[in-house]
C-alpha cells in the first residue's frame, strides 16, 4: 500500500535537490567573482546562492532524520527487595515475574530463610535508545 522511502519519488526528490545545490553553488561563486564590478547584482546572487544551499542541506537533513527508522526506548528496570526480618535492602535487575509486594529470593544477610519482599520496581537510568526495526 504505502510506498517505502526509496521509491521513484525519492529518486526525483534527490535529483531536484542535486540540481538546486549545483545551481545555488554556481550563483554563489558567480556572485563572489563579480562582486567588485557589479556589487548590487552580485549581492543578490550570493544571497540566493546561500539560501539555495541552506534549503538543500536542510532538506537532506530532514530525509536523513526520517530514514533512521523506529527507535524504541528500553529502560533498565531495577527491583528493590527488603528483608522483613533484618530490614536489609537489596537492589538487582528486574526478573520476569517480579512484582511489588511479591516475594523473591531468601535473604542472605540474616540467613533466616525468610523470602525478601519486593518493595519497589523502577526504571533506573534514562531510557537507552535501542532500535527494534
Amino acid at each position: 500500500m504505502a510506498k517505502q522511502p526509496g521509491s521513484v519519488f525519492m529518486s526525483l526528490y534527490f535529483m531536484v535537490l542535486g540540481i538546486l545545490l549545483v545551481v545555488s553553488a554556481g550563483m554563489f561563486f558567480i556572485g563572489l567573482r563579480e562582486l567588485a564590478s557589479e556589487p548590487t547584482q552580485s549581492t543578490i546572487y550570493i544571497l540566493v546562492g546561500i539560501s539555495g544551499i541552506a534549503i538543500t542541506l536542510y532538506s537532506l537533513r530532514q530525509v536523513q532524520s526520517k530514514s533512521k527508522g523506529l527507535r524504541v526506548q528500553v529502560a533498565k528496570v531495577i527491583t528493590v527487595l527488603e528483608c522483613a526480618n533484618c530490614r536489609n535492602k537489596l537492589t538487582r535487575n528486574f526478573k520476569e515475574g517480579d512484582y511489588i509486594y511479591g516475594t523473591a529470593e531468601k535473604c542472605t544477610n540474616c540467613n533466616s530463610g525468610t523470602p525478601m519482599t519486593i518493595m519497589s520496581i523502577f526504571a533506573e537510568k534514562p531510557p537507552s535508545k535501542k532500535s527494534t526495526v
Binding site: 500500500m1 523506529l70 526506548q73 529502560a75 528486574f94 517480579d98 511489588i100 509486594y101 523502577f122 526504571a123
Partner: protein, 357 residues
C-alpha cells in the same frame, strides 16, 4: 546569465501560481505517507510481540495468530446517543461483555499462562488493537485525500499527525513493559493504595478490584485498588458504590490517579483537585460522582503528573518519588480533613500491572 535567471524566476512564478496548491498537497501527502509507513511498522511489530508472548506464556498447541488478527479488528459498537438517559449503563454493560469475551478467549489461546500473565496478554492485545486503529484511520484519510486530491481532507489529518504519532510511539514503547509485566506509570494511583493497604487483610469488592482497611492516626481508612499484579484497572466505580452502600459513616472520599502533564511540566510532581480523579471512558467516573453526590460527601483528588509515554512505560525514579510524596500527601489530607474516629475512603486508580496489594 541574468537572462536565464530572470527566465527561471518567471517560470517559477508561473509554476507556483498554477500548481502551487498541488505541490503543497504532494508534500503533505508525502508526510502522511511517511507517518503511515511508520504506523504500519509499529502495528506489525506490536502484533508480532503479542503473538510471540501468547506462544511463550500460553504454550498452547493452537496457533494464536488467527485470534490475534481477529482481535485487532474488534470494535465496541457504541450505544445510540439520541436518547442519552441511561447510556452510561449501556456502555458499562457492553464493556463488561467485551472484558468477559477477551478474558475467555485469552484463556483458550494461552492456557498455561497464570492469571496475571493473561491480563498482561490482554493489555498487549489492546495496544496492538489501538495501533491497528490508528493505522486504518490514517490510511483511510490518506487514500481518500489522494483520490479526491482534496487539500482540506489532507490538511485535517496532517494537523493531527504529531499528536497521533506521539501516542503511537508511546504505545510501541509500552510493548516491552507489558511483555515482561513491569509496573507502569499509570499504576501510580494503584501503588499509592497498595502502600496504604499492604500488610492488611484484603477482600474482593468488585470485578478485579480489592479493598482493605487500615488505621491511620485514629482514623479508619478503607482502601480500594484494582487487583494486582495482573494488568487491570478493575471497577473502582462499582467498588465505591458497594462501600458507600455498606458504610454510612464515611466522612470523605480521596482518589489518587496518574494525570497527563502539560509540556514544560516536571514528571512526578503532584497536584490536587476537587472531584473524581479518574480517566477512561467515563462509566466509572459517573458511578463515583453519582454515589458521592447522593451522600453529599467531599471528593478530593491527588494526581501524579507524567507524560503519555511515561504512563505506559516502566515507572521512572521521578514518578516513584512522586508516588511516595502522594502517599505522604494522602496521609496529611486524612489527618487534616477528618477527626479521630472518622472513616475515610481512599481509591487508588490505574493499571495495577506489577503491583500486588
Amino acid at each position: 546569465m541574468a537572462y536565464i535567471i530572470n527566465l527561471a524566476f518567471m517560470a517559477m512564478f508561473f509554476v507556483l501560481f498554477v500548481w502551487g496548491q498541488r505541490i503543497q498537497l504532494t508534500i503533505m501527502l508525502r508526510d502522511v505517507e511517511y507517518a503511515l509507513s511508520r504506523l504500519k511498522i509499529m502495528r506489525d511489530e506490536t502484533r508480532r510481540a503479542a503473538i510471540e508472548n501468547v506462544k511463550r506464556l500460553g504454550k498452547s498447541q493452537k496457533d494464536p495468530t488467527p485470534y490475534v488478527d481477529r482481535y485487532l479488528e474488534y470494535v465496541l459498537i457504541p450505544p445510540v446517543p439520541m436518547d442519552p438517559a441511561g447510556i452510561v449503563w449501556k456502555y458499562d454493560h457492553l464493556l463488561g461483555i467485551t472484558e468477559d469475551r477477551v478474558k475467555d478467549e485469552v484463556k483458550v489461546i494461552a492456557p498455561e499462562a497464570n492469571e496475571a500473565q493473561q491480563y498482561n496478554i490482554q493489555n498487549l492485545l489492546e495496544i496492538a488493537q489501538a495501533l491497528n486503529t490508528y493505522y486504518r484511520v490514517i490510511r483511510h484519510f490518506y487514500l481518500f485525500g489522494k483520490k479526491s486530491a482534496s487539500y482540506y481532507i489532507i490538511i485535517q489529518i496532517q494537523v493531527l499527525l504529531p499528536e497521533i504519532m506521539r501516542e503511537a510511539e508511546a504505545l510501541l514503547g509500552a510493548v516491552h513493559a507489558f511483555t515482561f509485566g513491569h509496573p507502569v506509570g499509570d499504576g501510580a494511583g494503584a501503588l499509592v493504595a497498595a502502600r496504604m493497604m499492604h500488610g492488611h487483610e484484603v477482600s474482593d469488592i468488585a470485578r478485579d478490584t480489592v479493598c482493605g482497611e487500615t488505621d491511620y492516626e485514629g482514623r479508619r481508612v478503607i482502601v480500594i485498588k484494582s487487583k494486582g499484579p495482573g494488568g487491570t484497572v478493575g471497577r473502582p466505580g462499582d467498588a465505591v458504590s458497594a462501600i458507600l452502600k455498606r458504610r454510612k459513616n464515611l466522612k470523605s472520599v480521596l482518589m489518587v490517579d496518574a494525570g497527563l502533564k502539560l509540556e514544560g511540566e516536571k514528571s512526578g510532581e503532584i497536584f490536587e483537585g476537587i472531584g473524581a480523579a479518574i480517566g477512561g471512558i467515563g462509566t466509572e467516573k459517573y458511578k463515583i460522582e453519582e454515589m458521592v453526590t447522593k451522600r453529599k460527601l467531599p471528593l478530593y483528588g491527588v494526581i501524579i503528573k507524567m507524560s503519555s509515554q511515561e504512563a505506559v512505560s516502566p515507572i521512572t525514579k521521578e514518578i516513584m518519588s512522586g508516588i511516595e510524596q502522594a502517599v505522604e500527601r494522602v496521609k496529611e489530607l486524612i489527618k487534616t480533613g477528618t477527626k479521630v474516629g472518622d472513616t475515610v475512603l481512599l481509591v487508588g486508580v490505574g493499571n495495577t500491572m506489577g503491583v500486588a496489594q
